[in-house]
Symmetry: C2
Subunit: 516 residues, 2 copies
């Protein structure tokens, strides 16, 4: 038995405690290269913790190179190749010094948005974890041509310090694109950001003080939850109707507008952050009549709506659904958008559309946050848009993602047990699955992970009332063959778990009979 002592009452997550204690045992020489450590299930029972706690700790140690799992043989302390972390630290920077840094941090947060358990490695060739573009379709040569053109034409302009509201040629291209889409936007209504994540950070700084309340869908994008938590802002959750049997079958899908109204009546809400199109994580799209109702309610309560429009252009079918910003009569909507999902996430460029005095305030906040967004990428993307390459790439990707979504839905129909439910997105990058009640998606992840398949358990997306039986499948970055294989594996291992549970239930039933 390993000498491990976990403190459930500590603010340090259990898996972090376990990781650190195991690492200390290796450093102290109590565990040596080649030693076998207990299977996660076994150690979980010994410590009285959930198996995912142990699996999370093992995943972290594996990614550090301290331990290695071998399918069928067990998990071992690694030998020869000494991991970086235990090489003796160089004199000046290796240790953390005499300072108790942990006591100086402003808060106790210390967890990843997604834990290491979902971290990809070359062993995992079917990863549904991320909602990300298909890199194999990046139009690299066209982009390089744009980059060359702007560096030939306007290098000095690009390389010197620029305006905080954005590089003027990019603002001009975006304003033209938006006007063509029917949004009457002027230069004063646009701010360039480092993407939607930064837009949320700037909005948080501009509007919210510690203790203020913000309304979010629950489940929601973990990056949004993390920003508000970091700023000590209270998140009020409104459920999302997924259209499955267990959750709003028959009625409209998307954020529950009646529940939203009730939340506004009962609370002083400063801001709502919503994703009406292909909501992350559920993939649902709020129908137009519900959008109008939502806007009426927002106007009545005078609460601004931040519309996350990041996935909206990825509609597989041609018909258009007007955005909240397009339907907005009361000028209450701030729309945030990005090149990240429609083009290249590695270039951190997005934008924000809002009334002029909001943009002016956000510009000042942006100035104190990072002066301005990188101008090489701004200029390159302006040229990419100007040449019509963005529109062309987007049209191509709509087809690619539409086909991948169809493949995912077909595979789910073909392989999944009848008890499993899922949403029916009409585009975007992810789909939401509900396992039978009582199943834990994190538990399932441990099994499928060993078979090279990864997904994001639903619990990462909830900030209240987590539904452990849910999971998100990001499909955009995977080809049809991988999607089919991944779903088949998921379904196979789920059936195994379901059979185990049935046998368990029968045993309990048998035991009851014997007791009578």
């Amino acid at each position: 038995m390993l000498p491990l002592q976990l403190q459930p009452a500590s603010h340090i997550p259990l898996y972090i405690q376990l990781r650190d204690q195991l690492r200390a045992l290796v450093h102290a020489g109590d565990l040596r290269p080649g030693d076998r450590i207990p299977a996660s299930r076994e150690l979980a029972v010994q410590l009285g913790v959930h198996r995912t706690t142990v699996a999370n700790a093992y995943a972290e140690l594996e990614s550090e190179g301290l331990i290695q799992g071998h399918v069928g043989r067990g998990t071992f302390i690694r030998g020869s190749a000494l991991p970086m972390k235990i090489t003796p630290p160089p004199p000046s920077l290796g240790g953390n010094g005499g300072v108790r840094w942990e006591s100086l941090f402003a808060d106790e947060r210390g967890e990843e948005v997604l834990s290491r358990l979902t971290q990809e490695s070359p062993d995992h060739d079917v990863s549904f974890v991320m909602a990300r573009p298909a890199a194999e379709f990046f139009p690299v040569e066209e982009l390089r041509a744009c980059c060359n053109a702007v560096l030939r034409r306007e290098a000095t302009q690009i390389l010197r310090l620029g305006p905080s509201d954005g590089y003027p040629p990019l603002k001009q291209q975006l304003a033209e694109m938006l006007r063509a889409e029917g949004i009457a936007v002027r230069d004063e209504n646009l701010l360039i950001t480092d993407g939607c994540q930064q837009a949320l950070d700037l909005l948080c700084k501009a509007f919210l003080r510690p203790g203020d309340s913000v309304l979010l869908e629950n489940p929601a994008y973990p990056g949004a939850i993390a920003i508000f938590a970091g700023a000590r802002v209270r998140c009020l959750g409104v459920p999302v109707r997924t259209g499955t049997r267990a959750n709003g079958s028959g009625g409209p899908v998307g954020v529950d507008v009646s529940a939203l109204e009730a939340t506004l009546i009962a609370n002083r809400v400063k801001l709502m952050v919503l994703t009406p199109d292909f909501q992350n994580p559920t993939g649902t799209t709020l129908p137009v009549p519900e959008r109008r109702r939502l806007l009426e309610i927002a106007a009545r309560h005078q609460v601004p709506v931040v519309e996350d429009h990041i996935y909206a252009r990825l509609r597989a079918r041609v018909e258009k659904v007007p955005s909240l910003k397009q339907l907005d009569r009361a000028n209450l909507v701030i729309q945030i958008d990005s090149f990240s999902k429609v083009a290249f996430p590695g270039l951190r460029v997005g934008w924000c559309i809002a009334p002029e005095n909001v943009i002016e305030r956000l510009r000042l906040v942006k100035q104190t946050t990072d002066l301005h967004t990188d101008q090489l990428s701004q200029a390159t993307l302006a040229e990419f848009t100007r040449r019509g390459l963005l529109a062309r790439h987007l049209a191509c990707m709509r087809k690619v993602y539409g086909s991948r979504l169809a493949a995912l839905q077909a595979a789910l129909e073909k392989h999944m047990p009848e008890e499993v439910q899922w949403t029916r997105p009409e585009g975007g990058m992810c789909l939401w699955v509900e396992l039978p009640h009582g199943f834990d998606a994190s538990e399932l992840l441990i099994h499928v992970r060993e078979r090279g398949v990864l997904f994001a358990p639903g619990r990462y997306f909830y900030f209240q009332n987590p539904q452990p039986n849910t999971l998100r499948l990001g499909f955009a970055g995977l080809d049809e063959r991988r999607i089919a294989r991944g779903v088949a594996t998921l379904a196979e291992l789920l059936r195994i778990e379901m059979r185990k549970r049935q046998r368990g239930a029968r045993r309990v039933e048998g035991a009851r009979v014997a007791l009578v």
Copy 2:
């Protein structure tokens, strides 16, 4: 007389009130194209405000295109070319809606870091306002070659989402460069940021809660002051000894370490942010014995030091001064640095060196702030560094800036009245001037502005005890000819003001004599 009513007790700055009321008079038709408005001095007397208030308001309206000044003739409401702001707004986005947005903002801040009075236009061909690199020396072709090389070699890696701590090849290049400089830095000690401005924002989020105290030099970089003010952190100022007659002549220059110690004894300080090399705005460099003393004091009080290293590589003379990080035995120093001053400010890439657990915390904060820094610029700068182009460019720029600094010092010696004092930087990008006691640099700016010369009045850099007789001259972006012309103009107008004052003093003296 114009119907203007300023509210000195309002939280809205007086010049903003004045600007808005003048704009409203134009919109209402009370002021029409071609109408002459009072000279700033005249209106200041009428309203009982300082002349800079009126000049600031006029500068804003001029930059909006609403008014235009003509030297010798006065200031007029502009005619024909209707400014953008008063075209009728399009239906959906033009107005600010029925929402009282101002009441929704988290705070009342609404001022630029530097006001419009220092804003450059084609009329101002000698601007000492910014501390910025010389754009005419940007090695554009070399940079374009680097950009092409990385887009040919690793485009997919660059364009997809990347790690929050930075693009690995850039981290590797920086670690090598730093090790060559004698800092034992490993991958775990480095975080890539969007530049020093963002590094300060991340440090603020990681370490400081509203109400906490941070120690800064006073005067300091306005971008740092703005970050802490926005986060409701208390700034404690420590004076900087400039070595002039009025301020520390004879003793060591740079932050007053004894005053710093007294501040640490009297207050619970969470963090110090200091710029030991070519401090912005004073240009002073803290001598090595004072650096050691500072580090001892920091260790005794266990207060981490954030060392702003952004100008340190721009030493005109070859001899090296060890950084705080290099002298740091207690591992208390977090060093922030950037490509912004040594290469291209338009590419927003910087870095932060710190103990491993600090970097780990900053990485999580960075993740929730903007996921990661733009990878096209990271990869391009990695290649620029790898090819030795950064070192070459830097060697060239040290000479260029050294020559400009010498030209500035020579011009000051030649033209300035004896009563004027200034610092003696050994590099960096700016120099600090002290006018005779009782003079207001903002007032002088109004005059030199009309002659095409701009500088930054000292008051922008103070967050307490402002010294209105100070000003900063950023010299790096100006060639020797412009520097000489700018200083000659400054000196000429200053002498005129000094003579006026002498005459005024004689009149008072005469009046006294008459009264006796």
